[in-house]
Symmetry: D2
């Protein structure tokens, strides 16, 4: 049956993009998930927020995150498959994104540790000095199941959108290191051995220009804990990543890049996580469709499987086509990132095209994941709202994908900004092959740019949404059909 | 500020429909919720599925549902305010719907016990014989905090849409009572003192025509438990109603109406719950908007409250207008129900108009509630996905509203059926005052009805959605504006 | 039946000590527990550790402890009955102990907030200067349901026995206040409006001589939080008191007494809590016996209620007699405290007698509570280990009574110390009326005191245990019998 | 340090009983526990009662027990090591008991599935006909990680002690099988592929003489579920065994032995589980001592590790000696079982000696485990009552060991019965080598037997306790010392 590839997070991308060098790795990884991983992930989700042991019985602060042993096995599986080291070995983010796609079909939260580890290794390799790289990079890239993990900690309690105003963590130089003091509120992968952290050097100007990016290990030189975890956050999903509130108190850290270019490094970090989020959103949507399919094929009503009911069948056809479009958008954004991620300031026009594509992809794919997960619950009827049948999980996961790394609102406005400043919509138009329907949209945007700033922002949403959809459809035109 | 009425589930309907006889009751009830009820509801939601004590320590089966004492206080508050007895005293469902609206703003799950108690009392009063009414009705309508509760148990494990095929509970006559044996899978308000239950009299034909409706008390004549609760269901929300799997084993029951008209009685029961669901959905959407508003007014980004950001402000304006439309649709459907609920077969054309409106309202308001709750989470950004801030609850609640009493898919097809059979869209067109935009929709539907049955069903969704939206907008035209 | 008084925590003490001025208060309080309180307490226990909301949605640290509303109603019931204000109004701890006895029969954890509030009010009234007393004491003693609560925070992570070595909280003078910085590890009643806190003034000597006692309000003068709660502790029981880890960071505090006499004030605080613990232990043991009795009367095996099985019946008789002894010991220790609590250094010989009695009572009654709770589980057989039947709770509660305020080991050694230093065993012998069997014990102790320090400690346990038991039996000789 | 063997459940028995054929198996198994098993067991305990999926999404009853995958790995480890198949291969229960000892040091609840599987295989091999054995025994004894599990389901809701009165499950013959209908209340290892079940053949006499023992597979011949699990029980511990309430409804079963000798077969099943319980109790006590030791060595108070405080040190010495005695008693009882388990009625005098020893061992070792676990918590002070430090778990586990398979009360009375009927105390006296102190006890018992039946039971406890203790001490005299 043509629908069968929907049940496999290897087969569906494979159908669309053809063979890659990683097919056997991916097939093996998928086989592991079917046989063992799925049940582990279910158990981790069901157990809820993991537990932190703050002190050992001798009274020493230890901040151990107490996932069950299975969790660590599950986590290690992706590192071993190469979600991190392959990017450096092959000098390409492509294997990482393929593995993140596959992971997210089963556990979209687990893609977060992989992504933030990648987002730690990349700026370290790009902006770290030789000593720093030599000391830390090999630890992240170990292939022996003992690799360190990375983490990216930017946000503080007052909010994540306006980092310029809200980062209150202060960095003070101390010999050739720095000392950081502050509280990070959404610290993904709390417990990681290495984190990149946004902070403001003492005396730096207010606003985003005063931010710098630092590398911060879990342990100080003397072996003491370098940060403490105030608590793990009770999130509705993505329970396979421990998100914590982290307290920095004179914590040892190393500057990455120049002190006054931190905001650019931060945005580069976000580039990676937005693409990973887009890729993961598509995979999650595929999963929701696959589960809806399984159910609709075996549930009988009015004498036939509900998949054969005409209205529902049409909904499946439409969802699957939209899935293809969403994949095209996310994948193309990933390809662009692969081209530009090594750029430094001043950035090329290609970089700005990438940025626009990334905002559209983050926005559009997450929205699609949410709506598809919701629909999947509705297909299941009453079973959809029971914790017993797992299906409600996909909506919880999708809502987080739609919010972290910037909500729809944020992506739309950032896309508008790169259009305003860099005319990136024209580059996009060229890039996707000048399809006529997109021409209309580009013209409408050009007209829109004549409005006052207030109006531009206020009335942007329908235009932005349309641009995303048309771009996705145009890109999907180059991919094989699914039926 | 004009937005202020959004924060009150009394003030917003009051603004739209004007004063009622129940204003002081409603204001007092709202005051209780603010002062006490909200915190109780939070605690009940957070605690999750309540606990059943199956046996006492002497080994006797008791099936006590162990909510904390606060729950019973919260529950009783609505009964005392008159959600049940006022409908009978005033011979109008209006006070019930007003109280359900208000309740649902704070705890949409709690509206379920009220609704199913109403849905038990109504068929009892309409179809019960004198002895049955005399024995049971006064228990439901007590005003002394000792009223019985009702419950409506139709669905079995194989699915809720196709009752004709899936109800396997058998009823066997036993003197002037019946004995029911079977398992009910989604039994709302498990533990109620009285339930209406769908079952098939032994020897009755297959399909919906063979169904009958029975009244089933919690205790047998001899004081023994008349049904057992296999377990309570782990739902993602509506934790203020215990939904269980109920086992009937030779359970004593009383026939309501004639044995071969059960399906009509069942549909009449659903009429009430669909309207209650619509009313509750609107209230939940109001709540999500109110919470988003509170947050957007106090959250600062880029130097001003986020409510003042143009794109977000526009979203608020649109949501509020949509809320008005959704209210109009739900409320009008309720008014129609109030006109027709005492009808018996053969039903009038007014009844069919009501049915169409009810399906549109159930479908449209629940969808609006889901999308609004999702948007409210996005407005909250990262805080939106934390269990700490309650806002994620509204999406969980809304998803259940969208699914129980029939999903969107079901409502759309049932609306199509009443259009096909009774041309109810024409009646609707007349009823809402023949607005031109609806004329186009009605014509399109007439054309659609020429298609094959398969095509009619397959391509119906956009037409049905449009009919709902246009009807809501037309009805809202009669209501005061909110800004 | 003579056993009936065992089912009432009013009737049993009343039988032993006769009428008091508080009988009607106690009876009303007991009636409330039966009707409402028991179910609330069950729900609080079952829900587990309460939840702290650390931040409000505006990002402000708030540290709200989110018990359900019922909890606050339950808590307030005891304050309203006078567990705190009656002690000051009647200048006697007697009403407090009677109310704590009654409370502990239903919820021994709830006695903790009452006890620590008392332990805050007493040193404040005794050692606070006039301004401090005027400002804070009336808040604690309000009778209008808005009274403040107190708390006693001594222990830090390295352990509670050796305060001299382990209190690392530092106090720095700041005008007429002090600033405290440190972490308290077992902070009972975290969230209280006022706490007494052990700290070491900067520059004070090491060891117990360098400790001082401070009064610390929840809010600073400027309204900010004066301490934060790192987390609440997951205890196996006493869930009706929020025990937290508290962080003091330049927290405003007021010195009580002289800076170099803190250790004496701390010990005076412990005097109160040890007696409350003893009283509560006896009440808990009574409860376990009462529940065992209920079960044994209705459980049938081998043709008769198990209470009628000879071996079990004998066990009941012995338990009840031991309960009488335990009550006598705890009650007498309370009477002595009532005599001496206003003493200041240098303390009288009566004070030292009290100390010995307090150590014996804390030790002996808690051990009795543990063994009785364990036995009660065994009486219930398999039901005893199910969470469904509440009986396992009493063992969890008892284990905490046996450990907090000092374990058996600690009480035994402190008793030995007051014997070594003050020959308090001789005073005890006189006090209980010179019974012959105690004469032997006293002689044995005198001989024991000739041993080396090492041997004295090593071999003390059997002597100390015997002293406690013989004292309890001697004191019980003055009480009415129970059968 | 001499204490070191206390930290190893291999080393301690090895020290006492010397090398066995299983040393390398045991060492490997212990290594697995240290490296992986302990953390899995912690996670299983912390997660609480596992979850049952009753229905799959197609609505079919499946009753899957949803432990995390780690659980199954942990469980399989013991089967692979040979806890079941070695007993049959080596025709000795010795390897089973050694493996159960080792398992119980880490997770005493996990020993239950092993024990009940053994208790299923033994009567099957002894009383099953050839066809039954051929069909089922190899499934239990597979060595390829796909072995079936067994289960023993006797008890019903009215109580476990008086099976004669309380077993209401009825068995009706149906060709060469039987059909069982009834509810089992404490069904250990619910979900097992095979269970032995007590039931009363239709028409059999009341009381124990009317009981028969049946073998009941999880699946019927036609592949359907042969029993359903009403729910799993919320136990305070032993969460590594799913204990459920099992519903039998015309369930297929096979008679073991003769219909009128069921009670003897049931008692033979209990023989095995009582010895396993004794062995596990000693292991648990060893574990509690080992944990106390770890803590006491690293906790500092008053300037030195608390292990060096004289009173505590003495307590350690005493505990360790008592541990040796408890081991001796349990082990000897196991040796006797190994001699007699193949006996059939009429039983030899050796069998009656075994029964007395088994009752004394079950009673005494469980009591020791409880008291030691309690003491271990006290050694830990405040940390002992926190869920964070695992130590509170041992008391929960121990309480179940003290209750299931018959409480102290039951063991004492059953010991008395075998003394009264078979003069088994004399055989015991001979068996342990006629030590003088036991002579006194035997004489006292002889005198006691002259009392009335009522008095014999009422006053038996101190004599029985003394007999157990003296027997243990006498047996320990043959074992090497521990210091």
């Amino acid at each position: 049956m043509p629908f069968d590839i929907l049940r496999s997070p290897f087969a569906f991308p494979h159908h669309l993009i053809g063979p890659t060098n990683y097919d056997s790795v991916l097939q093996e990884y998928e086989a592991w998930w079917k046989q063992e991983g799925q049940a582990i992930s279910d158990a981790v989700d069901r157990t809820g927020t993991p537990w932190v042991r703050m002190f050992d019985s001798a009274g020493k602060r230890v901040d151990e995150i107490l996932y069950p042993p299975d969790y660590w096995r599950m986590l290690q599986q992706g590192y071993r498959a190469g979600v991190l080291w392959r990017a450096f070995q092959d000098k390409s983010l492509r294997p990482s994104f393929l593995l993140i796609y596959l992971t997210s079909f089963y556990d979209s939260g687990l893609s977060c540790p992989y992504t933030v580890s990648l987002s730690t290794a990349l700026p370290l390799s790009k902006y770290g000095d030789a000593a720093l790289k030599e000391r830390f990079l090999p630890e992240l890239l170990r292939e022996d199941d003992r690799n360190w993990q990375g983490a990216t900690w930017m946000t503080e309690i007052k909010g994540g959108s306006d980092l310029g105003a809200n980062v209150e963590t202060v960095a003070v130089p101390d010999g050739n290191t720095w000392r950081l003091t502050g509280d990070k509120y959404f610290s993904s992968n709390a417990g990681a051995e290495l984190a990149v952290v946004a902070a403001r050097p003492k005396g730096a100007p207010a606003g985003v220009r005063g931010l710098a990016l630092f590398l911060l290990p879990r342990q100080k030189h003397n072996g003491e804990l370098n940060y403490t975890i105030r608590r793990l956050k009770d999130k509705i999903a993505t329970r396979s990543v421990p998100t914590g509130e982290v307290e920095l108190r004179d914590s040892e850290a190393y500057l990455l890049g120049e002190p006054d270019e931190g905001i650019y490094l931060i945005l580069e970090v976000l580039n990676v996580s937005r693409i990973a989020n887009s890729v993961g959103s598509v995979a999650l949507a595929q999963r929701a469709i696959a589960d809806a399919l399984d159910f609709a094929e075996c549930r009988i009503a009015f004498g036939r499987p509900v998949i054969e009911h005409p209205l529902l069948h049409r909904q499946f056809d439409e969802r699957i086509n939209d899935l293809r479009c969403a994949f095209a958008l996310a994948w193309e954004a990933g390809k662009l990132l692969n081209e530009v991620w090594e750029e430094r300031r001043p950035y090329s026009q290609r970089y700005h095209l990438f940025r626009l594509m990334a905002h559209l992809a983050k926005y559009w794919t997450a929205e699609f994941a949410v709506q598809t997960a919701k629909w999947c619950m509705e297909v299941h009827g009453g079973l959809g709202v029971l914790e017993e049948f797992r299906v409600e999980r996909w909506l919880r996961e999708a809502m987080i994908l739609a919010i972290w790394e910037g909500t729809a609102h944020r992506q739309l406005l950032d896309a508008l900004e790169v259009i305003e400043r860099k005319q990136a919509h024209h580059a996009l138009f060229e890039y996707v092959g000048r399809p006529p329907r997109l021409r209309e949209a580009v013209d409408a945007i050009d007209a829109h740019l004549q409005l006052s700033a207030e109006q531009r922002e206020r009335d942007w949403e329908p235009l932005g949404a349309s641009l995303a959809q048309l771009t996705a459809e145009a890109l999907a035109g180059n991919l094989p059909s699914v039926a």
